[in-house]
């Protein structure tokens, strides 16, 4: 992404010649701040509402963030690599519409699920080909495909909706694996581990950081920059397809306006998780914590009968404060 903000500070980045001790690093890290925020919100919520500390209620709360977080993992890697995908919510709409078409054609549950996931993948390929193949700026391309993908859903559905999905499909969005542990929560945990390993334990992950810090240098050190970019868009499309399956299953219907505005919530989640919007830094544990925080806030406010739009003010303020505070403190 090329939307970097330069405030005229022309001094180079300071690279420490010795790393700080790991304990000091842990204390100061973004993740620690997020854990403290999460605990504060958790404690405040349990004092404010008597219904908060209930296993089933807390389990319900997880649905607020699991689907968005699935996409946020892939989006985090994309943003670390210096790109962005604003079309994810539209991919959900198109994938969900494709699932509806498959259902209308009389397909069974496995085919419906596969249709959703493959549609997501195809959308990811389109984004990846435009950005990595043609070298176009990702923010513009995905604003375009954002209109295009949801536009296709509107062309297919108009003001109609798909209803009457088979009963077995409900498992992906409403099913429980064990006691209060939902299928979505398990999927969230598994994907968190996979993405953590991919980003922090593989050469692919190192390549993502390298590209985000300096794409030209990465190219010169033998990283196939465009191939990595392409794969990242593919992953984001894939995760959007999976999220579409979960969401469609949970709602039991498809409208072209499904998941409107999610792209901005997902970007908020990623940035709140400590991923630099300019690329080059961030971590999956941070994103996991940010997802939990956003879920807790939404759920806690919901219990207190706070309307959704007031929650969004709070999330907007949280986003700006959390980004601004370290910058303001660092200056002193």
């Amino acid at each position: 992404m090329t939307l970097n903000n330069s405030t005229g500070d022309v001094t180079g980045r300071i690279i420490p010649d010795r790393m700080r001790s790991s304990f000091a690093r842990v204390l100061r890290s973004w993740e620690t701040i997020l854990i403290v925020v999460a605990i504060l919100i958790f404690v405040t919520n349990s004092f404010l509402s008597p219904y908060f500390l209930n296993a089933w209620n807390l389990s319900d709360a997880t649905f607020n963030f699991t689907e968005k977080a699935l996409i946020a993992f892939a989006m985090a890697m994309l943003i670390i690599a210096g790109e962005i995908d604003l079309s994810v919510a539209s991919i959900i709409a198109l994938a969900s519409t494709a699932m509806g078409l498959a259902m209308t054609a009389g397909a069974g549950v496995p085919v419906i699920v596969l249709t959703g996931i493959v549609t997501g993948l195809v959308c990811g390929v389109v984004n990846g080909a435009l950005v990595a193949g043609l070298g176009l700026p990702s923010i513009v391309v995905t604003i375009g495909t954002m209109s295009l993908f949801r536009g296709l859903a509107f062309i297919i559905l108009g003001d109609q909706a798909f209803n009457g999905y088979p009963k077995d499909l409900a498992f992906f969005g409403q099913g429980y694996v064990w006691w209060v542990i939902s299928f979505e929560l398990v999927l969230f945990a598994i994907c968190a581990v996979i993405y953590w390993a991919l980003l922090h334990r593989t050469t692919f992950g190192r390549a993502v950081y390298a590209i985000g810090n300096n794409a030209t240098a990465a190219q010169f050190s033998g990283i196939r920059v465009d191939r990595v970019r392409f794969l990242l868009f593919l992953l984001t499309g894939l995760m959007s397809g999976i999220a579409a399956v979960c969401l469609t299953s949970r709602l039991g219907s498809t409208r072209p306006s499904i998941a409107t505005g999610w792209e901005l919530e997902i970007v908020t989640m990623v940035v709140l998780g400590g991923v630099s919007i300019l690329g080059g830094s961030g971590s999956i544990p941070g994103v996991v914590l940010a997802a939990v925080i956003m879920g807790l806030v939404t759920f806690g406010f919901g219990l207190l009968n706070v309307p959704g739009i007031v929650m969004s003010i709070f999330l907007g303020l949280l986003l700006i404060t959390v980004i601004a505070l370290p910058r303001l403190l660092q200056r002193k």
């Binding site: 090329t2 939307l3 970097n4 005229g8 435009l130 513009v140 209109s147 700006i320």
Partner: protein, 321 residues
């Protein structure tokens, strides 16, 4: 400069060609009254487009314009309900819009948060404030005075005031961008921030003024929008910020900053306006509009980028294979 002139001429040709194509089967579409209607419908997009061009020129982006529009529009409607005279309301929307833009500007300038993060946050905050002001209630046509509603529709020389406001603002800001020091600073800051610092420009402050201008223009549009459609509620112009960015991209404004003109954004807005107004005429379902404008954005950026791509990269690519 030659390339940019070329680019805008091409876009103008594309608009004329699509008008010609539509007119060949539906001559009524290019009647003066119908064209005036197209221009009037595109006026909010053009006005916001001017502000967005200036912000994008400085390497920033303003995603809060639609929320700013909705908030100032709602405040205008509430002031009208409280009996405030119209001239005062008009002054207020400019000041409030500029103040909301200044909030973005300060966060970008003084705190150094990337503009996309700032405006993503203020976008939700501004819309939320509308809800806090009104409890989610609508201000409907019968709660607005006739004078308040009539101004944007008042026709002068065949064009409503709403279009004239757009025309005047386009002329003013085209002059500002090309003939004033501030205008040149917007290009310099976006073209090369480091060089701009050495040239004695304050990059952050220039970006701040870009956000103030964008905010003030959103404020003006807020009044025009609410008065023309005679309704104000939390969700008016929802998602409109992306249409504005789309108009800029179609108009050839480089998202990396430093290149583009007001005319590009105006033509981009007109292009989207022509599509939107032509679809019902040529009997295509309005549900196609979104997909068509999405394709237009992708084609426009592919076209613009292909022309401005540096040639040297290919050597490297062969070496790595």
């Amino acid at each position: 400069m030659n390339i940019f002139k070329h680019r805008e001429a091409l876009l103008a040709l594309a608009i004329l060609a699509s008008l010609g194509l539509i007119a060949s089967r539906f001559p009524a579409f290019i009647q003066p009254a119908s064209l005036a209607n197209v221009i009037n419908d595109s006026a909010p997009l053009m006005i916001l487009g001017i502000g967005q061009v200036i912000v994008i020129l400085t390497k920033c982006i303003d995603l809060s314009v639609a929320a700013n529009l909705a908030l100032t529009g709602m405040i205008a409607a509430l002031m009208n309900g409280a009996g405030v005279p119209l001239p005062l309301i008009l002054a207020a929307v400019v000041v409030i819009g500029a103040a909301l833009g200044a909030v973005n500007g300060v966060l970008v300038w003084k705190v150094g948060i990337p503009s996309i993060v700032v405006t993503l946050g203020t976008m939700t905050i501004y819309r939320g404030i509308i809800f806090l002001l009104t409890d989610g209630k609508w201000v409907n046509a019968h709660e607005m005075t006739d004078g308040f509603k009539a101004l944007p529709r008042l026709a002068i020389l065949g064009l409503p005031v709403m279009s004239w406001v757009a025309v005047v603002l386009i002329a003013v800001f085209a002059l500002v961008l090309t003939r004033t020091a501030l205008g040149r600073a917007f290009y310099a800051v976006g073209g090369n921030p480091h060089a701009a610092v050495y040239a004695g420009l304050n990059v952050g402050r220039t970006q701040f003024w870009a956000f103030v201008i964008s905010g003030a223009l959103a404020g003006v549009t807020g009044y025009l929008w609410v008065a023309r459609y005679a309704v104000a509620y939390v969700d008016i112009a929802g998602g409109f910020e992306l249409d504005v960015v789309a108009a800029c991209v179609i108009g050839g404004i480089a998202i990396a900053g430093g290149a583009g003109t007001i005319w590009g954004a105006v033509l981009g807005a007109l292009f989207l306006g022509v599509i939107k107004n032509a679809l019902p005429v040529v009997d295509i379902s309005p549900f196609w509009q979104m997909a068509i404008s999405g394709s237009a954005i992708i084609l426009a950026v592919a076209f613009n980028t292909a022309k401005s791509r540096p040639k040297g990269r290919l050597i490297l690519r062969e070496a790595t294979e």
